[in-house]
């Protein structure tokens, strides 16, 4: 599985993405946070094993943020490699997400 999800006891959803994070992961990523009957407001995106991220992945992050409550969503992006970090930095996505 290229997209792995895990829910902690306090209800925090963690989504880990392996390999390339691009449009090819669209369906998998979407179903990772769009679960029937659940609406997680705090989500952690783990990019530890993500090798590449493109602009459509940024769009997917925006969709997820919208789904999780937009401005009020609590979303953390963790373990990003320096290459991935660079892409996030150019787009200034740290203004929307808590990136570490």
């Amino acid at each position: 599985m290229a997209v792995v999800t895990d829910v902690s006891p306090d209800g925090r959803l963690t989504i880990a993405i392996k390999g390339r994070f691009d449009f090819g992961k669209h369906q998998e990523f979407r179903s990772a946070y769009e679960r029937p009957g659940q609406k997680p407001e705090s989500i952690t995106i783990d990019l530890k094993e993500t090798t590449y991220i493109d602009s459509s992945a940024l769009g997917m992050l925006l969709l997820m943020r919208d789904h999780a409550g937009g401005e009020n969503a609590d979303i953390r992006v963790i373990n990003s490699s320096s290459d991935v970090r660079k892409i996030l930095a150019i787009s200034n996505f740290d203004q929307l997400f808590d990136i570490s």
């Binding site: 769009g59 969709l63 200034n92 929307l96």
Partner: protein
């Protein structure tokens, strides 16, 4: 398959008894039968009647089955006409020869009815599969051609919009892949009424039509607001709000917007999500990166959108270079990206600035990058204003209803000064007067100068001598933003008066501010070199107007424009 498909089967067999036996077996299975007595006849019957399937005896007089098979396959072209060889040769040897000759299967004599029926069925499945593949291939080709034609038309329409601007100015060089638009790249340039140049390089997320649809509304806002003289902030706000409204959540537009003032020799930059551009100072060879400091357009709500810009001074010959991510993200066969570092190396090795694009493309080719259709680069040179000829404004009215005797006064107070730029409105108003239209660029420049002076030096109390060097320049604009943000009181008053004369008329502009004034004599006495960066543009104002003077210790500026009666 629930119902048996009726096929036309050609049976070529020189032995009459075997031919009849085989024919009756095949007919009993529900198919139509054609017969031939040798290979030549088989080819002839095939070319005339095009059966679906051929049963071919290997050994026949006149023309044997192997040659007949080759000819039938050639006649059939892309359509799969399965050929089953009938043979009494030993299985292994027969199979090889028959298949090499183009046969699809082999049936050994004596015939087994069940096996024959099964083979016909299996071959028919193959035949239908091939037919489906061909049909879908042709359908794809038609769709592709259709899409290409549509893109061609869409691009032609869009080029009309995009080239309404000034991309062809002598100080702009640009390079775009032919269908970059359909990869979301967008390049626009236009003059403001004051003769400043605005350039936008944008990159929408995604590819194809979705990436291209946002381009049109964005171009419209860009051209509309630039032509009316709106500032960077208003234009950016409008572009962001429009894209936020019309694009789906996961789509946005990375963009760099530049405003180059040739009069004041500076460039104002806003970069949201684009790769670093560079300001190349020709005198020192230094390249100042123009870093992305904002989220792309179309993401943030209007309340949270940040329009703060950087302002940098330019010398004649300095260049601003922008590029889309197509260059940096180009990958070689192993998946490595070209990257910003290799770009820097090209910069360092570049001898002639006018060959920079070619140098970059060559470096990308040497790197082994696959060519991409989303490469955009633009390079703008700072030149003297008289090198550029902004296109004349186009008016749609006759001028018969021109108002000729009026005056109007405004007072803009702190809260308004923070967020509102009144100049485009005033310019619209003044453009109602036909006699002034030829001078609208000068009027706009002067209004702009006087209003900026009143706001920055008067109301905000900024010291223009800060702008003497590059570092001070940046500090000045930082300080301007900070003070404006904190502004509690103060005003700028604008008074416009139009007076008709016997031969034409005149426009009087008076700008007054709540500041402490300045020593007019002293500023005007400064040597020209010092006045350029910090002289409040007074020189410019005096050059462009019929008369200009300052009263109340510099707190009031009065200028006059005049026009002759139109022939």
């Amino acid at each position: 398959m629930p119902t048996l498909e009726i096929l036309t089967v050609l049976i070529a067999e020189d032995n009459a008894a075997e031919r009849m036996l085989l024919s009756s077996i095949v007919r009993r299975q529900g198919h139509a039968v054609l017969t031939a007595e040798n290979g030549a006849e088989a080819v002839e019957v095939f070319s005339r009647q095009r059966p679906h399937l051929v049963l071919l005896d290997a050994m026949m007089p006149v023309m044997d089955g192997f040659e007949a098979a080759q000819r039938i396959k050639a006649l059939a072209g892309e359509t799969l006409v399965p050929i089953i060889f009938l043979t009494s040769m030993s299985e292994e040897q027969a199979l090889v020869r028959c298949l090499e000759a183009g046969g699809d299967d082999v049936l050994a004599k004596p015939y087994n009815q069940l096996i024959l029926a099964a083979k016909i069925k299996a071959m028919n499945r193959l035949r239908r599969l091939q037919a489906t593949v061909l049909e879908q291939r042709d359908q794809l080709a038609r769709h592709h051609e259709h899409l290409r034609r549509e893109q061609h038309v869409a691009k032609a329409v869009f080029d009309q919009v995009a080239h309404a601007g000034c991309l062809n100015s002598p100080n702009i060089r640009y390079l775009q892949s032919p269908y970059a638009l359909f990869n979301g790249d967008l390049l626009l340039a236009a003059f403001t009424p004051a003769g400043d140049m605005r350039v936008l390089l944008g990159d929408f997320t995604g590819h194809g039509l979705p990436a291209a649809v946002g381009a049109m509304p964005l171009a419209e806002v860009f051209y509309g607001m630039t032509a009316k003289g709106y500032g960077m902030a208003e234009t950016l706000r409008e572009m962001n709000a429009k894209l936020k409204r019309i694009l789906p959540v996961d789509m946005f537009c990375c963009a760099t917007l530049l405003a180059l003032s040739f009069q004041r020799r500076l460039v104002e930059v806003w970069n949201g999500g684009m790769p670093e551009g560079y300001l190349h100072r020709v005198a020192t060879g230094q390249r100042v990166p123009l870093v992305s400091r904002h989220l792309p357009l179309g993401i943030l709500s209007p309340e949270r959108f940040d329009v703060s810009t950087e302002v940098l001074p330019l010398a004649l010959g300095d260049r601003v270079f922008l590029l889309s991510d197509g260059v940096i993200d180009t990958q070689d066969a192993t998946g490595r990206s070209f990257g910003a570092q290799r770009l820097q190396q090209v910069f360092a090795a570049n001898q002639a600035p006018e060959h920079l694009f070619e140098d970059i493309l060559q470096a990308v080719a040497r790197f082994g990058g696959k060519s991409r259709d989303d490469v955009s680069m633009v390079d703008i040179t700072m030149v003297a204003p008289d090198r550029l000829v902004p296109p004349p404004l186009v008016y749609s009215d006759s001028g018969e209803s021109s108002p000729l005797d009026w005056s109007v006064s405004f007072e803009f107070r702190a809260d308004t000064l923070k967020r509102f730029n009144p100049l485009p409105y005033l310019l619209q108003l003044l453009q109602e007067i036909h006699g002034l239209r030829a001078q609208s660029a000068a009027i706009y420049s002067v209004l702009n100068e006087l209003y900026s002076n009143a706001l920055e030096h008067g109301v905000l109390g900024l010291d223009s001598t800060l702008k003497r060097d590059v570092a001070g320049f940046a500090r000045y604009y930082q300080e301007r933003n900070d003070r404006l943000e904190r502004l509690q009181e103060g005003y700028v008053r604008l008074h416009l008066r139009i007076e008709p004369g016997v031969q034409g008329g005149r426009l009087l502009i008076e700008v007054q501010d709540s500041g402490t004034g300045f020593d007019v004599e002293q500023v005007l006495a400064l040597p020209l070199t010092e006045r350029r960066l910090s002289g409040r543009g007074l020189n410019l104002v005096r050059q462009l107007t019929r008369s200009a003077d300052w009263a109340d210790d510099g707190r009031v500026a009065r200028v006059e424009f005049a026009w002759e009666a139109l022939a």
